[in-house]
């Protein structure tokens, strides 16, 4: 990686972050909506102890909302922005300049990671301050690794899915139509319990969102017997990420479809 490439990446990331915060719809769906869901879920289901010794129910919602933030920032927002840039000719024009493609796309990914970091910290702090949800400190390295892997996987899938989006107006509804049903079967809104139908968890297990949510849950459950390192969840996510990367290298478009 050349020093010029790094400077270009830093500058492009700064502008992409500016664009994210200045775009009311993008910032609402990436930052505000996940937090609204946290407040709504705790208002609907309360915050009682899950078992007689804990933890509180919100300790299930906090990691779910962090997982949702990852998917919104990396999959929905990244794909929406990329399709918009493709269909309005921005990507084509960028390809006509000397900036390296990985630098330009890398800035979009770095912007998604900045949003993940913000949302993870913000959600964990709100969980601690408002809902008495504690972070299990020994899991922090594992949580960070999960967020890094999750970010990479959903960025790859977001860019891969741009091939299926025909134009900039159909992007947000199409992408949300994919993720919304999956949130319900992936421990994002409603954590699975012993009473959850097996079919639901099986469906959830096929897709990467549940693996992200489950891997993050360990960081907020002091009574968990699971290993600190959710290797199986990472592997499933990585398989989806690899499929996404393959599609990108083979079929990613820089020019408008229209």
């Amino acid at each position: 990686m050349s020093s010029r490439g790094v400077r270009q990446l830093a500058k492009q990331t700064r502008f992409d972050l500016m664009l994210l915060w200045r775009n009311p719809l993008a910032s609402f769906f990436t930052v505000v909506l996940p937090l609204v869901f946290l407040f709504v879920l705790t208002a609907l289901f309360g915050n009682d102890l899950v078992t007689s010794v804990g933890p509180k129910l919100a300790s299930r919602f906090v990691p779910g909302i962090i997982a949702l933030s990852v998917v919104q920032a990396c999959f929905v927002n990244l794909a929406t922005v990329t399709v918009f840039r493709r269909e309005t000719g921005i990507l084509k024009r960028v390809r006509g300049t000397p900036i390296r493609p990985w630098v330009f796309m890398g800035a979009q990914v770095a912007t998604a990671y900045a949003a993940i970091a913000l949302m993870a910290v913000l959600t964990a702090m709100i969980g601690w301050a408002v809902y008495d949800v504690s972070l299990v400190w020994k899991t922090v390295p594992s949580l960070i690794a999960t967020l890094i892997i999750g970010g990479a996987v959903f960025c790859a899938l977001g860019l891969a899915f741009t091939n299926l989006v025909l134009n900039e107006t159909s992007g947000p509804p199409f992408l949300n139509l994919i993720v919304l049903p999956l949130y319900f079967v992936s421990d994002v809104y409603v954590p699975a319990t012993d009473d959850t139908p097996r079919a639901i968890t099986l469906i959830g297990d096929i897709f990467p969102i549940r693996h992200l949510a489950v891997a993050l849950q360990r960081g907020f459950d002091p009574l968990s017997n699971e290993s600190v390192w959710p290797a199986a969840n990472w592997l499933v996510m990585a398989a989806w990420g690899a499929a996404g990367a393959l599609i990108i290298t083979r079929w990613f478009r820089w020019t408008p479809r229209g």
Partner: protein, 325 residues
């Protein structure tokens, strides 16, 4: 003699059985503005996109700034600027931010304030792109193409959708690029734009270059003649020397003969001669008027317009395409 910025020989591009470009030869000299004209579907965009490296070719030789666009690297992209027919910069950045973001893509960009002044957007530097008018947005497009300090600029229909004033301003701006030594390949549908800006014009039809040169060269290629006309009251057909008398005609009467009723006019009758020998014909007319003691105050000399030549050339290409089909 100036070197070639673009040199194209026998360029072909096929999509299955459809041959979009069928042997284009094109040359653009350094510092020249060449207008590239052609009807929709003639292969204009395909040709330009091959030169810009957005498409690959099926056959032929292409050299742009001394390199083959199909294999040229990032250093080559440092030397070109592109204004696409349709592109929409990010709405939530200001003009200055957008140009500054773009400047970072190049190794040796022009200073942002200089570029903004060049395209007349200096006063609007802090305005959000989403709030710009169509004309201002097109200026920003040009600013993004110029910020890398290009040697060669591809302008694809840069004034489409402009009103007359905005178009004139854009022409002045593009004309100003000459002083910077920039070579320009201008794709346009507007004949007046090509005539006002271009040093030379290339016309493409059915995937082939059918004519190249100045507007006068194109008129010659289309075998168009200059139209000389005057009022028949000032100098009648009977007063003309024999050679001119045979060539002169009254358009109203000719139209009336073709379609009765159409040629009736309340205006004074005019005589017309269509000729390729303008100087000789005008000289002979003035001589005839002098002999008869007349003055021809209403004399008009109308050379064929670029539009006449373009329509004649592309119409001819269409007919030839149909006859070979």
């Amino acid at each position: 003699m100036r070197a070639s910025a673009i040199e194209v020989t026998g360029l072909c591009k096929s999509y299955g059985a459809n041959q979009a470009v069928a042997g284009v030869d094109l040359q653009v000299k350094e510092g020249e503005i060449l207008a590239f004209l052609g009807p929709n579907g003639a292969g204009k965009t395909t040709t330009v996109e091959i030169l810009e490296s957005f498409r690959t070719r099926t056959a032929g030789e292409v050299s742009v700034l001394g390199q083959d666009p199909a294999t040229a690297g990032l250093d080559w992209r440092e030397r070109i600027g592109i204004v696409l027919q349709e592109s929409q910069p990010e709405a939530y950045l200001t003009i200055a931010e957008t140009v500054s973001m773009w400047a970072a893509y190049f190794a040796a960009p022009r200073p942002v304030p200089e570029v903004l002044e060049l395209v007349g957007l200096g006063e609007h530097r802090d305005q959000r792109v989403g709030r710009l008018s169509g004309g201002q947005r097109r200026r920003l497009d040009l600013a993004l193409a110029l910020v890398g300090n290009p040697e060669l600029l591809f302008l694809d229909e840069p004034t489409t959708g402009f009103d007359s004033t905005a178009r004139r301003e854009a022409w002045a701006m593009i004309d100003g690029l000459r002083s910077l030594g920039v070579t320009v390949l201008l794709t346009t549908h507007y004949m007046d734009e090509a005539r006002n800006l271009a040093d030379r014009i290339s016309v493409i039809a059915a995937g082939r270059i059918i004519a190249q040169g100045t507007a006068t060269d194109l008129a010659r290629a289309a075998s168009l003649r200059t139209r000389i006309s005057w009022s028949a009251h000032e100098l009648s057909s009977a007063e003309l020397p024999e050679g001119l008398r045979a060539a002169a005609f009254e358009p109203q009467k000719a139209a009336e003969r073709r379609e009765p009723g159409i040629g009736q006019s309340s205006g004074p009758a005019r005589l017309v001669i269509e000729t390729g020998e303008v100087t000789d014909t005008v000289g002979a007319l003035l001589e005839a008027a002098g002999r008869s003691g007349r003055k021809i105050e209403s004399l008009e000399v109308q050379p064929p317009t670029l539009e006449d030549a373009y329509l004649a050339l592309t119409g001819e290409a269409d007919r030839s395409e149909e006859s070979t089909a």
